[in-house]
């Protein structure tokens, strides 16, 4: 009898948890997708909720949200798009916060090109194309240009620069050895999968405006517990530690 009661209790427990379990569709800027996947798996281990991540460029995801995409939350690569959404019927007011701060790295497929610091590596760089994400399209690109300007290298490089559509494309140009040098996201360069393909040196965050990546709850997910909990989980200590280890700064 007691066995039966305990089994019933168990069943009730499971049922009630399932009642609370929700699913959310979360739009994530591509540069953050790998980290978001790690966060997703630890989130799903610690709660009953399920999230599905959808990656895309911040600009495309923004346009889709404004045209009715069923996303519950948005993890952008910049602050501008979440700010615009927050002030529109598509976003939830006062739900915006910075979940990560992007950092830059100077990267090359040839280890001998990477010196003790970025300044030194740039001064001794071989001639040839230099990859940067398009400053007009990618927040990492705009920061890359600022950093090069602060280092007074921008005008010297200008004729050699090739623009990637995104920081992902820029990384591909460097990792495949098609360009000797490029500025990529530190999180990409630190990705263990590519530790053999790419050598890098950090670029000081003092050289450029900080690349603050903001998240915002969307109207579609206003009452979605999974989306709300996931956003809360982004700020949890365990997540922040993971982000620091993957090449991001945190607040």
């Amino acid at each position: 009898m007691t066995k039966l009661t305990s089994r019933l209790c168990c069943l009730l427990c499971v049922l009630s948890q399932n009642v609370n379990a929700e699913e959310a569709l979360i739009a994530v800027a591509t540069n953050f997708f790998n980290s978001a996947k790690q966060i997703e798996s630890s989130f799903e281990r610690s709660t009953q909720h399920q999230v599905t991540l959808v990656s895309g460029s911040t600009g495309k995801l923004y346009a889709q949200i404004r045209h009715g995409a069923p996303f519950d939350a948005f993890l952008a690569a910049d602050q501008e798009r979440p700010r615009l959404l927050e002030g529109s019927p598509f976003g939830v007011g006062n739900s915006r916060f910075t979940f990560a701060i992007g950092q830059l790295a100077l990267a090359s497929a040839r280890p001998e090109h990477i010196k003790a610091d970025a300044q030194e590596s740039l001064r001794q760089r071989p001639n040839g194309p230099f990859a940067v994400a398009n400053p007009a399209l990618a927040p990492y690109g705009a920061a890359s240009r600022e950093a090069l300007q602060s280092l007074q290298q921008w005008s010297a490089l200008e004729g050699d620069i090739v623009l990637g559509e995104s920081v992902g494309q820029t990384f591909a140009m460097v990792a495949t050895g098609n360009v000797q040098f490029g500025i990529v996201a530190l999180s990409q360069a630190m990705n263990p999968v590519h530790s053999n393909a790419v050598s890098y040196v950090r670029i000081s965050t003092l050289l450029h405006e900080s690349i603050r990546q903001d998240a915002v709850l969307l109207s579609h997910g206003k009452d979605n517990l999974a989306a709300r909990e996931f956003l809360k989980f982004l700020r949890a200590e365990v997540t922040q530690a993971l982000l620091l280890d993957s090449g991001y700064g945190v607040e």
Binding site: S55, G56, A63, H67, A69, P70, F71, F171, A172, H194
Partner: protein
């Protein structure tokens, strides 16, 4: 092995799009081939227009035209209860427009090269226009149909920019194979990208090879 769900989704999309376009494109191509109307060049130009705009831009306009706030989008919501954008149906609508020239142009030239004589002969034998179409025109233009269907199917499989915008990369619903590969590349998951690309290329080659091989046999047997 990577997740193959995007491949099946692409096949479903390309299959449905090809069938829909065979139904819609055939009468249009037929009309274009036989009309002497003055608006014919206008319709021909409109049919070719999907080739002009960059696919992501075309996709952006689909978002604007098909969104739930618009007449078409709203009508769809009323009828089906679902939004047209970010759904499989939305991908079909976008693909039908995007692949339209690949269906209409080969069919139109097939109908034109057939000429009017076989149809007139059929008419003298008291065949109704519909009967003449199915028992004379279709068999005579079978190469045109095969070419149009293959081009439409292949073009839809390779479609990227439009579906990226209208579909929104939602796993199991709108993440087709081209988008899955792009996502693997953009998130630096190159090994998975290589795998999916290899699967896609081998599959596409096999299908195209079979179609062209069968087309030749068809020609020998009938001709």
């Amino acid at each position: 092995m990577p997740d193959l769900a995007p491949l099946w989704l692409s096949l479903a999309l390309a299959g449905v799009t090809t069938v829909v376009l065979l139904i819609l494109g055939t009468p249009l191509a037929w009309w274009l081939a036989h009309t002497s109307s003055r608006i014919r060049p206008v319709i021909e130009a409109v049919t070719a227009l999907p080739l002009v705009l960059p696919p992501t831009v075309l996709g952006f306009y689909f978002l604007i035209i098909l969104g739930p706030g618009t007449t078409i989008g709203n009508f769809w919501v009323q009828v089906t209860g679902d939004a047209l954008t970010f759904s499989f149906s939305g991908l079909v609508v976008a693909s039908v427009v995007y692949s339209l020239p690949f269906m209409v142009q080969p069919l139109q030239s097939a109908f034109e090269s057939m000429g009017r004589a076989p149809l007139e002969a059929a008419a003298t034998l008291r065949a109704s226009p519909l009967d003449a179409f199915f028992s004379v025109a279709v068999p005579l233009s079978r190469h045109g149909f095969v070419t149009a269907a293959v081009l439409t199917f292949a073009h839809t499989i390779g479609e990227f920019g439009v579906v990226l915008m209208v579909g929104g990369n939602i796993p199991g619903k709108t993440r087709v194979i081209s988008i899955a590969i792009y996502e693997h590349v953009e998130t630096l998951n190159y090994a998975a990208a290589h795998w999916l690309s290899a699967v896609l290329l081998v599959f596409a080659f096999t299908v195209l090879f079979l179609v062209y091989a069968l087309k030749r046999r068809l020609a020998i047997r009938v001709g």
